[in-house]
């Protein structure tokens, strides 16, 4: 069953201007993401992945083309989109609960009900004992979980994750990506993940978009179908097809 298209990127072009000249970051890029999908975007470093995310978040305006989110053209930051950055970026002077309610506060939606929803989310995902702790008292993995819940607290329809595991050590990275996938699955959110880790992309996504080097365009799109139908990224890594996808993507990204 095909679900509806929730993010529709149409012929997107983006150029950066400096006095020295202009640099094209995206070149006529089109991409569709369906509701409930987990899509990863991979590409050579500096190819314009982050630019694409900033455009979807409405933080930049494109030089050409447009983006429709839920049928509406993106013209600025949109409460339907939740962004999660590379490092957790929790505010060290706020306790965990206050970090999570930050988005609600900014959007003037903080009241008894939304605050208790935020609390419930933290409790549900194992952070109930740390509501009034400060970020410095939590481990890297826990902080990343808090960062995800901060994004979920404004109840967005689409999550944008910008290399959310890259600052973690390998062990933590595997377990955090497992947790994040489980949480996102539970909360039924559409997700766009940017990463440069091929294995991570295969283990976590339904679909992988490979970008060309700058100016970025779509090189290829792969549907990931693994025979072991598990949601856990760690267990998905054990599927027989995993290596096949890995080799395929690795060759596609190879620097020539």
């Amino acid at each position: 069953m095909e679900s509806r298209v929730i993010v529709d990127v149409r012929n997107l072009t983006m150029k950066y201007h400096t006095l020295a000249g202009e640099t094209a970051a995206l070149n006529n890029l089109s991409l569709q993401v369906r509701e409930g999908e987990f899509v990863s975007i991979i590409g050579p470093s500096g190819c314009g992945k982050s630019t694409l995310l900033s455009l979807i978040c409405g933080l930049l305006s494109p030089s050409g083309g447009n983006i429709l989110v839920d049928g509406e053209t993106v013209q600025g930051p949109n409460p339907k989109i939740g962004y999660m950055p590379q490092r957790d970026q929790l505010f060290p002077w706020r306790n965990i609960l206050m970090n999570v309610t930050l988005g609600l506060e900014v959007q003037n939606k903080l009241n008894e009900k939304t605050r208790s929803n935020a609390k419930d989310l933290l409790v549900k995902y194992g952070l109930g004992d740390f509501l009034y702790h400060y970020p410095a008292q939590l481990s890297g993995g826990m902080r990343q979980r808090v960062a995800l819940i901060r994004t979920l607290a404004i109840d967005p329809e689409i999550l944008i994750l910008d290399e959310p595991f890259s600052a973690l050590d390998y062990q933590t990275r595997l377990s955090v990506s497992d947790e994040v996938k489980r949480i996102i699955n539970n909360e039924k959110k559409t997700t766009i993940l940017v990463t440069h880790d091929i294995a991570e992309a295969i283990s976590i996504s339904d679909r992988i978009v490979v970008l060309t080097k700058r100016p970025a365009d779509i090189k290829n799109i792969h549907d990931i179908a693994l025979s072991c139908d598990d949601i856990s990224p760690i267990r998905r890594r054990e599927c027989p097809e995993f290596r096949h996808y890995f080799n395929l993507l690795w060759k596609e990204l190879e620097v020539k």
Partner: protein, 271 residues
């Protein structure tokens, strides 16, 4: 921590004892230096090796302090200088922070004002003393103005650079939530810069002392700076030395106060 102190090995006890011993020896050495310095000063005066009329003497300083206290003058002078100083560094810090906010708000303004700030920062503000007296008058307002002037420029520069160094990603998070510029200032720029502002405050306490004392040298009729200048003019070195010692004590106390403030504000940084 509590459990650790209960279950310590002999080796650890030895280590703790060695550390304490070392601290104790440092303290003893400090006090010894002070004691012998005062003692030799006193004795050198008494046996005619130095002239107490020019160098003063610990016993004479003490006598001067007691006299000042009996006449009810001591706390009057201390209070005036301390109040001028507090008004000076608090308003210097507030004004500097406000201007830094304006510069952060408008990058155009910050680019326009940049060369002026550089020049004003390089200028020794004390040179403006006579101008202040002409403009503001011969009294405490001029002294406070001197203290503010001396601290405000460096505050603007420090606090503004603190604002600019706030992590772009933190700002980006707020922007994706749809934050306004005012919300960005309020939710991330200011709270993230509290350590910078407090450290500016700490520096300003020192700068403000300089401003206040110089101001009192120039215009005042009361205060520690006045006592120092007056004592110098009438060759009462006992009065000069006594005032300098009170000044040192007051400055040290105030600095310690700032250190405490800094500690209590940075609770969240540690564990």
């Amino acid at each position: 921590m509590k459990e650790e102190t209960r279950l310590v090995s002999m080796e650890h006890l030895k280590f703790i004892r060695a550390v304490r011993m070392e601290n104790y020896r440092v303290l003893v050495a400090r006090l010894t230096i002070l004691f012998f310095f005062i003692l030799s000063w006193e004795l050198a005066g008494r046996f005619g090796l130095i002239d107490p009329f020019i160098t003063s003497q610990p016993s004479r300083i003490l006598k001067t302090l007691i006299n000042l206290y009996r006449e009810g003058q001591l706390f009057h002078h201390i209070l005036i200088t301390v109040v001028e100083n507090i008004i000076g560094f608090v308003s210097g810090t507030l004004l500097g922070t406000l201007i830094a906010v304006a510069l952060w708000w408008s990058s155009f303004l910050s680019r326009v004002l940049d060369p002026y700030l550089v020049v004003l920062n390089a200028l020794p503000k004390i040179a403006l003393g006579p101008i202040l007296i002409v403009w503001i008058g011969n009294g405490p307002p001029s002294i406070v103005a001197m203290a503010i002037l001396i601290s405000v420029i460096v505050t603007i520069l420090t606090v503004y650079s603190g604002f600019v160094q706030v992590d772009e990603e933190k700002i980006k998070i707020l922007k994706t939530f749809g934050a306004t510029k005012y919300q960005i200032l309020q939710k991330v720029i200011l709270p993230a810069s509290v350590p910078t502002i407090v450290s500016a405050l700490k520096i300003n306490v020192g700068l403000s002392w300089v401003g206040v004392i110089v101001g009192e040298f120039l215009v005042s009729k009361a205060g520690l700076g006045y006592l120092i200048v007056y004592g110098g003019q009438v060759f009462k070195l006992d009065l000069v030395m006594a005032s300098v010692i009170i000044l040192a004590a007051a400055a040290a106390l105030m600095y310690q106060g700032m250190v405490c403030l800094e500690k209590s504000l940075s609770r969240w940084q540690g564990n």
